[in-house]
C-alpha cells in the first residue's frame, strides 16, 4: 500500500510540471506585444519593466520555464495588473466561495445521482427508471448557464423565494448549487444505473440471494460496494466538470468565486491573474484525481497490490 501511494504521488509530479508549462505558454498565444496589451497605453515605464521582467518573454523558453516554476513553487504568482495586488491574495479571497459551491454541487451529484441510479437499476424499465433516464438525458444536454437563468426566472423572479444572485446565506447557495450539479447528477445516475445493473447479474449476487440475504442488503452490501469504483472514478472526473461549470454558474449568479474572478480577469486583460486562476483550478483537479486514485487502493485491495 505504501509503495502504491508513493508511486501515485511520483506520477503526479510530471503532470504538475507540465500543467505549469502549459499555463506559462498561454501568454505566448497572445498576438502582438502581450505586455503592451495587458497594461494599456497609460502604463508607467516601471510597471512595464516589472511585468516584462516577471513574464521574461525575451528570455529562452527553458530559462523562462525554470524561473516560472521557481516563482510558483514559492507561491509567487505575480501581481494582478488591475488591482495591483499579489495574485495569490486575489485567489485567496475567492477560493472559499468556489469551494463551497463545488462541494455543495458534488454532494448533490453524489447523493441524488447515486440514489436515482440505484433505484433505476433495482427496478429497471419501471416508470421511475423511464423518467430518470429521460431526465438524465435532458440534464446532460442543458447548458449550465441557461439552466441557471431559467431557475432565476422561476424561483427568484416569478416566485420570489430565493435571491437572484450574490452569496452569503444558505438561500444564496441553493440555486447555484442545483444549477451546477444538474449535469453531474445526470452523469452519475446513468453510470450508477449501468454499473449496478451489471453487478446485479454477477454470480455472487445470485449466491447472496439464494442463501436468503434480504434484497436491501444485497443491493447495499454486495452490489453498491462493487459498483463503487466506476462511480468513484466518475465523481473524480465530475470534479473537473464542476470547476469548469463553476465559471459559468458564478457568472450567472454573481457568485464571488474563482470562476467569476477569472472571467473578470479576461475582460480586464489581466493575464497574470488569469494564469494564476487556471493554474489553481488545474492543480486542484490533479490533486482530486490523485485522491480518487488513492481511494481505489483503499476500496479495492487488488489495485493497491498491482501498484
Amino acid at each position: 500500500m505504501l509503495t502504491f501511494v508513493a508511486r501515485r504521488l511520483l506520477l503526479a509530479v510530471p503532470v504538475l510540471l507540465g500543467v505549469v508549462f502549459v499555463v506559462m505558454l498561454t501568454v505566448d498565444l497572445i498576438p502582438g506585444d502581450a505586455v503592451a496589451l495587458m497594461l494599456g497605453e497609460h502604463a508607467t515605464p516601471e510597471a512595464v519593466a516589472r511585468l516584462r521582467d516577471y513574464l521574461g518573454l525575451d528570455k529562452p523558453l527553458l530559462v523562462r520555464y525554470a524561473a516560472y516554476v521557481g516563482h510558483v513553487a514559492h507561491g509567487d504568482l505575480g501581481r494582478s495588473i488591475q488591482q495591483n495586488r499579489p495574485v495569490v491574495d486575489e485567489l485567496g479571497d475567492a477560493w472559499p466561495a468556489t469551494l463551497e459551491l463545488t462541494v455543495a454541487a458534488l454532494c448533490l451529484a453524489a447523493l441524488v445521482g447515486v440514489a436515482a441510479g440505484v433505484v433505476s437499476a433495482v427496478w429497471p424499465n419501471s416508470v421511475f427508471d423511464a423518467v430518470a433516464r429521460v431526465g438524465s438525458l435532458f440534464g446532460l444536454s442543458m447548458p449550465v448557464f441557461w439552466t441557471g437563468l431559467v431557475l432565476i426566472v422561476c424561483f427568484a423572479l416569478w416566485l420570489p423565494w430565493l435571491p437572484v444572485g450574490g452569496a452569503g446565506s444558505l438561500g444564496h447557495l441553493v440555486l447555484p448549487a442545483i444549477t451546477l450539479a444538474l449535469p453531474s447528477v445526470a452523469m452519475v445516475a446513468r453510470m450508477t444505473r449501468s454499473s449496478v445493473l451489471e453487478v446485479l447479474r454477477e454470480d455472487y449476487v445470485r449466491t447472496a440471494r439464494a442463501k436468503g440475504v434480504a434484497e436491501r442488503l444485497v443491493v447495499s452490501k454486495h452490489a453498491l460496494r462493487n459498483a463503487a469504483i466506476p462511480i468513484l472514478t466518475l465523481l473524480g472526473l465530475q470534479a473537473g466538470q464542476l470547476m469548469g461549470g463553476a465559471v459559468l454558474t458564478e457568472t450567472v449568479f454573481a457568485w464571488p468565486g474563482l470562476g467569476r474572478l477569472m472571467v473578470k480577469a479576461i475582460f480586464a486583460r489581466d493575464y497574470v491573474l488569469l494564469q494564476g486562476a487556471v493554474l489553481v483550478f488545474a492543480l486542484a483537479f490533479v490533486l482530486i484525481n490523485l485522491v480518487v486514485d488513492l481511494a481505489y487502493g483503499a476500496l479495492d485491495p487488488r489495485v493497491a497490490r498491482q501498484g
Binding site: 444536454s141 449550465v144 448557464f145 441557461w146 437563468l149 470547476m243 465559471v247 459559468l248 457568472t251 479576461i266
Partner: protein, 299 residues
C-alpha cells in the same frame, strides 16, 4: 457481438462482410426509438443550417425598435429580441454557427488524434510515452478551462473559438485512437497482414485504422454535442462569437438584462441549444449501441 466478430475478419470476403456489418448496424439502430429521434433532430438541424436563407421568415439582422422584446406569437413566432430582431430567424441562422464550430472543431480534434494517436499506438516506446504524457497534461485542465485559456489569449471570434474547442477535444480523442490502434495492432488479422508482407504503413492504414473507424464515428458524434455546448458557453461568457453573429450562446446572454420583462429572449435560444445537444447525444448513443456495443461504458 456477432457483428463485432464479423468486423474483425477482412481479406477476400472483406467487401460483403462490411456490407452486412453496416446493414446489421442499421437494423439495430432503427430499432431504437431514441436513436431515431436523435437522427431526426440532427437531420432537421442540418436542413435548418443549409436552408437558412429560405427557411427563415425574416432577415436575422433586421432591427425594429418599436417591436423590441415582442412576445412570442403573431408576427414573431418565437418573439423578438432586445433590438426587435426575429428570434426564430436568428435561431435558424444560429444553427449554422453551432454546426460550423462543432464540425470544424471535430475535424481539428480528429486530425490531431488520428495522427498522434496512431503514431503513439503503432510506434510505441518513448514516442508513445511522450505523446501520452502530453495528453495527460492537457487532460489535467478541468472541463472548459483549457478552451477558456486558449480563446482568451487568442482573442474572441468564431474562428478562435473553433480552434479552442478543437484543442480542448484533441487529448481525449488521441487517447481513444491510441487505445483502439493498440488493440487492432496486436490482433490476428494485423499480424496476418504483416506475415503476408504488408508494410507497417499499409497495415496501419488498411487494417488498423479501418477497424478504429466505429469508435471514431461514435466519438465524433458525441463530441459534436459537447462542442456545441462549449461554443455556446464561450459565446455566453463573451469570449466566443461576437455580436451581431447569431450564436445561440450569445443570444441567451443578451437577454440577461430583461429576465423579468422578456424572459423569452433568454429561454428560447437555450431550448435550441438543448435540443441540438440532445439530438447529437441520442444519435451518438444510438450509433455506439448499433456499431459496437462493447464501447458502452468507454464513451
Amino acid at each position: 457481438m456477432a457483428a463485432g466478430a464479423a468486423a474483425t475478419f477482412t481479406g477476400p470476403a472483406g467487401a460483403p462482410v462490411r456490407a452486412t456489418l453496416s446493414a446489421d448496424a442499421w437494423q439495430r439502430f432503427r430499432k431504437s426509438r431514441l436513436a431515431m429521434a436523435g437522427l431526426v433532430v440532427v437531420g432537421l438541424l442540418v436542413i435548418a443550417a443549409a436552408g437558412a436563407p429560405w427557411l427563415a421568415p425574416a432577415d436575422p439582422a433586421k432591427q425594429s425598435l418599436i417591436e423590441k422584446r415582442a412576445r412570442p406569437g403573431g408576427k414573431f413566432l418565437l418573439g423578438a429580441d432586445e433590438f426587435g430582431r426575429d428570434i426564430l430567424s436568428r435561431l435558424i441562422y444560429g444553427s449554422r454557427v453551432a454546426l460550423l464550430v462543432g464540425g470544424l472543431s471535430v475535424a481539428i480534434a480528429l486530425a490531431v488524434a488520428l495522427t498522434l494517436g496512431s503514431v503513439a499506438g503503432f510506434v510505441g516506446g518513448w514516442v508513445d510515452a511522450l505523446i501520452m504524457r502530453a495528453v495527460e497534461i492537457l487532460l489535467a485542465f478541468p472541463y472548459l478551462l483549457l478552451a477558456i485559456a486558449v480563446v482568451s489569449a487568442l482573442g474572441p471570434g468564431v474562428l478562435n473559438t473553433t480552434i479552442a474547442v478543437g484543442i480542448w477535444g484533441a487529448p481525449t480523442a488521441t487517447r481513444l485512437v491510441r487505445s483502439a490502434v493498440l488493440t487492432a495492432r496486436d490482433s490476428e488479422y494485423a499480424r496476418a497482414a504483416r506475415a503476408l508482407g504488408a508494410t507497417g504503413a499499409r497495415v496501419l492504414v488498411r487494417h488498423v485504422l479501418r477497424n478504429v473507424l466505429p469508435s471514431v464515428i461514435v466519438y465524433s458524434t458525441l463530441f459534436m454535442a459537447n462542442a456545441i455546448l462549449v461554443e455556446a458557453a464561450l459565446s455566453f461568457l463573451g469570449l466566443g462569437a461576437q455580436p451581431p453573429t447569431p450564436s445561440w450562446g450569445l443570444m441567451v446572454s443578451s437577454g440577461r438584462d430583461f429576465l423579468l420583462v422578456a424572459p423569452h429572449i433568454t429561454t428560447v435560444p437555450g431550448l435550441a441549444i438543448m435540443l441540438a445537444v440532445l439530438g447529437f447525444n441520442l444519435l451518438g448513443d444510438g450509433l455506439r449501441d448499433a456499431l459496437d456495443p462493447r464501447l458502452r461504458g468507454q464513451l
